[in-house]
Symmetry: C2
Subunit: 155 residues, 2 copies
């Protein structure tokens, strides 16, 4: 479990990261990871944990917008399809926590940071859910992953 | 904004408390208040910020349960009504953050702690929303108050 409150208290984040043992959950490496990811969420405001959470309706809507834009170029269908697929990948990268590039080191995605931590700590782990409160906003952005690849243990 | 992560990281809480100025939001008294209330939420797991948030359906359901219990005693209607009203007050006290007794000092409710802070800091404030994550649970308990009696400023 990690939390981060942005300077001045305008943005707060709570993130649940599951690992397999209390031992790992208590390590400074794991706790730093939780803190770093909470801080990242405060800064980049992702909408989902993983791409699997994007609803079919949302996917359809995005795809339609990109298709219309691509068709307006008058390019052949095969090219349009490629453009749309590329834009969908960009959408995932911008909105899904696992695919976002880490705010403090753009060379890695959050998913890669998790993978590195799994190797380093020798235990499976996954981001389960987060919530981000911004003072003044009407509703929180929150997301939870139903399949985190690890049994809920402690974080 | 306050957060609290319970020892071992099994429970995490994020709470948004609004006041009127950044100046007050940065005071140690306000920050301690946010922390204390987050810790309280971790311990007592309230379901709502205020009684006004309890839905009519939920109220109806609770009232029916208490009525059935009271009627089973065979007492007169006027007494039953009193018993039911008393149990509803108890329900609010157990489930609404503002009406819960502070875990570290049962002589005050959370609402009274807020009132005392308003007097001490000379500024209106209110608890807007919170979320509580517990490792292993399916969905978070979260609540937000639409009427916090103060313009969203900073917390």
């Amino acid at each position: 479990m990690g939390s981060y409150i942005h300077a001045g208290g305008k943005i707060g984040v709570l993130v649940e990261i599951n690992c397999e043992s209390d031992f790992v959950a208590r390590t400074p490496i794991f706790q730093q990871l939780c803190h770093d990811i909470a801080m990242h969420i405060a800064a980049l405001d992702p909408r989902y944990v993983r791409r699997e959470e994007v609803t079919p309706e949302m996917l359809e809507k995005e795809r339609e917008i990109y298709s219309a834009q691509a068709r307006a170029t008058g390019k052949p269908d095969a090219v349009i399809e490629k453009i749309v697929n590329g834009k969908m990948e960009k959408f995932y990268e911008e909105n899904c926590l696992y695919e976002q590039h880490y705010i403090k080191d753009e060379s890695v995605t959050i998913g890669e940071m998790i993978s590195q931590a799994i190797v380093k700590l020798g235990e499976n782990m996954g981001i389960r859910r987060f919530v981000r409160f911004k003072v003044g906003e009407v509703s929180a952005s929150a997301s939870s992953s139903s399949d985190n690849g690890t049994a809920p243990a402690s974080a």
